[in-house]
């Protein structure tokens, strides 16, 4: 199984340890993982800001780099959902069939649905509050969205449950947006920060020591507020907890 590792730009620059944990996990589980070094950014920030046209070349570049892999796996649910949901359309409009969008997966989705992980070594004896990121929930269906009357499930919860000693919690308003939203976070900075602050309060009310999620961009935004407000909480991507014993 050839897996291409897609490490989004901000993870590359700010959270390389999340990339390393992703690699470690996939490698441990027997995947043949490679990292195409000429990858950059999926282009979501520009597209969400209204410049989808600027993404065409990036999408083609991504497709060239990754089309040879069986799966493309990434530790960022929002970037994955952009590749999955938007790349086909963006490239189709330019007359190129997209070969990668169908086989791109968020790492949690990949571990849960493709590798069907139900056992991992390691302990993490801490209280952890799950941050259900919007695109992970409402586009990738990592958990059942709170608005919908569908059977309840959470892939992240299932994965974390394999780790010994962990106490899994979830905040009130279980999947309300934290207010990151790419350029929304600067264009509407006041609303964005208030949303993030409220979200943090809900996470903290669970008594958690850690906030974890499948999307480091939401965590980055909340971490920025937690540091400013000196709130006592730590942030980890789900894969960093799943590699506790590796």
């Amino acid at each position: 199984m050839k897996v291409g590792l897609f490490i989004p730009c901000y993870v590359n620059a700010i959270y390389p340890e999340v990339g390393i944990a992703t690699y470690k996990l996939l490698d441990y589980l027997g995947a043949d993982v490679n990292y195409p070094v000429r990858q950059t950014c999926c282009g979501q920030p520009m597209a969400n800001a209204g410049f989808e046209q600027m993404v065409v070349d990036l999408a083609k570049h991504f497709d060239d780099l990754f089309s040879g892999y069986d799966y493309i796996v990434s530790p960022s649910s929002s970037c994955v959902s952009f590749v999955k949901k938007k790349y086909s359309l963006i490239m189709q409009n330019e007359g190129y069939p997209c070969q990668t969008s169908g086989k791109t997966h968020d790492v949690c989705e990949f571990l849960h649905d493709v590798l069907k992980v139900d056992k991992l070594p390691g302990k993490f004896p801490h209280k952890v509050s799950i941050h259900n990121s919007c695109h992970g929930v409402r586009e990738l269906h990592l958990s059942s969205a709170s608005e919908l009357n569908i059977p309840r499930h959470s892939k992240i919860k299932n994965l974390l449950s394999t780790i010994e000693g962990i106490e899994i919690l979830e905040p009130d308003k279980i999947d309300e947006c934290c207010g990151f939203g790419g350029m929304f976070s600067i264009e509407e900075q006041a609303v964005s920060v208030r949303m993030g602050y409220d979200k943090l309060k809900n996470h903290l009310a669970t008594g958690a020591e850690y906030i974890t999620g499948a999307d480091s961009s939401c965590l980055m935004h909340m971490q920025g507020i937690a540091e400013r407000e000196r709130l006592p909480v730590k942030f980890l991507h789900v894969v960093q907890i799943l590699t506790a014993g590796l």
């Binding site: 901000y10 620059a13 920030p45 409402r138 920025g224």
Partner: protein
């Protein structure tokens, strides 16, 4: 980077306590809605059916409009066709003038807001009385609704008490809701009894029967139409549904989605005028047939104006309806504003973090967030794109198209970590106003990979 919306939002949030109250109040409505929606096993099926029925109806609108008009006329109603807001107002005024109406009592209607009818009629000397309690409160202070279902939701009881003190001469400092409601009722009762004509909106028009269906909690539509000899219905052409069977689906969805009630207190069906009375139905286009031609945004015509997208919207809840420049706020308002005039209402497009909660909550499954994303793509060609945002996007595009340069930037980025605080946290740094910047890693993932620190190369 800022928009008219983001500035107004900041002003609203300056009153932190009020913002928190507004947010929680609307979240309670969402929570009530969730509770009821989860009690119905076939909820998602109902949404799906409602969406399909609406799509079917708007794509066969000519047929259903003709059928509706024929049935309604056969029942004894008089049908008027208004191509735009002005047409609507003139038609209504003409009906009123010919019957020498001095006072019109009306129930809630977003369409009359859309047509700015009250101002038009009042300029012509007709006394227009809003009878929905929230609308009435706002009329007393000459303000517009801040929410389409709960128009005065931004006002707390103390503020309403103050308004009533000034306008209805209630006791000073008495904010007891029961007392205030009684005062409003007493005041409105006189208006109901002395009105010459009644106007209502319409939640649904049933094509097979020609009926108008109106859902209210206060019974004010029924009260208003019970006394005068004249009843005018103002109705958008997208309000049609095929038949009573389909109505049963919408009735199950509407109040649950809107206010978290199983059903509104009153669901009133108007088929024909009482003996000796007149019933007029004004069918309004006002841009709706243009939307029909607009493939990207035609779904907005499915809207049943329940307001659920506002109650769930994390942005709307924190900033209130007046932060938007269009008279309908929230996700549906952002889209409807753009359909009316992209140039005038483009500022509202910033009011969305693309969380997609509105898509999931909408009882007729309008792809609200996707449409906002699409509108953003048109800003540049409309010359409405924010310059700073465009510049940043260009810079990012340039950087990301050149992997070598990108890696050089990753390598030097950690310099930022060591820069003096005053250099980084300034008025241009919108991120840093309420947040600390993230710390750049000394070595990027790519660099570590290349050095063999991630995968031990064979």
């Amino acid at each position: 980077m800022s928009t008219k919306h983001s500035k107004a939002a900041e002003r609203f949030m300056n009153n932190t306590e009020h913002e928190r109250w507004h947010n929680e109040t609307l979240w309670q409505v969402r929570a009530k809605r969730d509770k009821l929606a989860m009690e119905i096993p076939e909820w998602e099926q109902l949404r799906d059916l409602a969406s399909r029925i609406k799509t079917h109806t708007i794509t066969n609108l000519d047929r259903y409009l003709t059928q509706f008009a024929e049935r309604a006329e056969a029942n004894g109603a008089i049908i008027h066709w208004a191509k735009d807001a002005n047409d609507h107002n003139e038609i209504v005024y003409d009906i009123l003038r010919k019957r020498d109406v001095k006072k019109l009592v009306k129930s809630k209607s977003m369409l009359t807001e859309e047509c700015k009818m009250n101002e038009y009629l009042m300029d012509k000397g007709i006394d227009v009385i809003e009878s929905d309690l929230g609308e009435r409160v706002l009329q007393l202070i000459h303000k517009q609704p801040s929410h389409i279902v709960m128009p005065a939701i931004h006002l707390q009881k103390e503020e309403i008490g103050k308004i009533f003190e000034n306008e209805l001469y209630t006791e000073k400092g008495n904010n007891n809701p029961v007392y205030l409601v009684h005062a409003a009722r007493e005041n409105l009762r006189k208006e109901f009894l002395s009105a010459d004509a009644a106007m209502t909106g319409a939640n649904f028009g049933v094509a097979t029967s020609g009926d108008i269906v109106i859902c209210t909690n206060e019974g004010n539509a029924d009260m208003g139409t019970s006394f005068p000899k004249l009843h005018i219905v103002s109705m958008g052409i997208e309000k049609l549904i095929p038949d009573y069977k389909s109505l049963s689906i919408f009735i199950r969805l509407l109040a649950r989605s809107a206010t978290g009630q199983p059903i509104t207190t009153y669901t009133s069906h108007y088929r024909k005028p009482r003996k000796g009375n007149e019933m007029h139905i004004v069918l309004v286009d006002n841009g709706r047939s243009d939307i029909l031609k607009n493939e990207d945004h035609v779904q907005t015509l499915k809207c049943i104006r329940c307001g659920a997208c506002m109650n769930t919207c994390p942005v709307y809840r924190r900033i209130g309806g007046y932060s938007y420049t269009y008279f309908i706020p929230g996700p549906i308002g952002i889209n409807l504003g753009m359909l009316e005039s992209p140039r005038k209402y483009a500022d509202n497009l910033s009011a969305c973090s693309l969380c997609y909660s509105c898509n999931n909550i909408c009882p007729v499954k309008i792809d609200l967030a996707d449409q906002i994303y699409k509108w953003r793509q048109s800003l540049d060609s409309l010359d409405e794109a924010d310059r700073a945002k465009k510049l940043v996007s260009y810079a990012m595009k340039f950087l990301f198209r050149h992997p070598t340069l990108y890696n050089v930037v990753l390598k030097i980025a950690p310099i930022v970590n060591k820069m003096p605080r005053s250099l980084i946290y300034n008025s241009f740094n919108d991120w840093g106003k309420g947040r600390e910047l993230p710390v750049f890693a000394e070595e990027s993932f790519t660099r570590m990979w290349k050095k063999g620190k991630v995968k031990k190369h064979e």
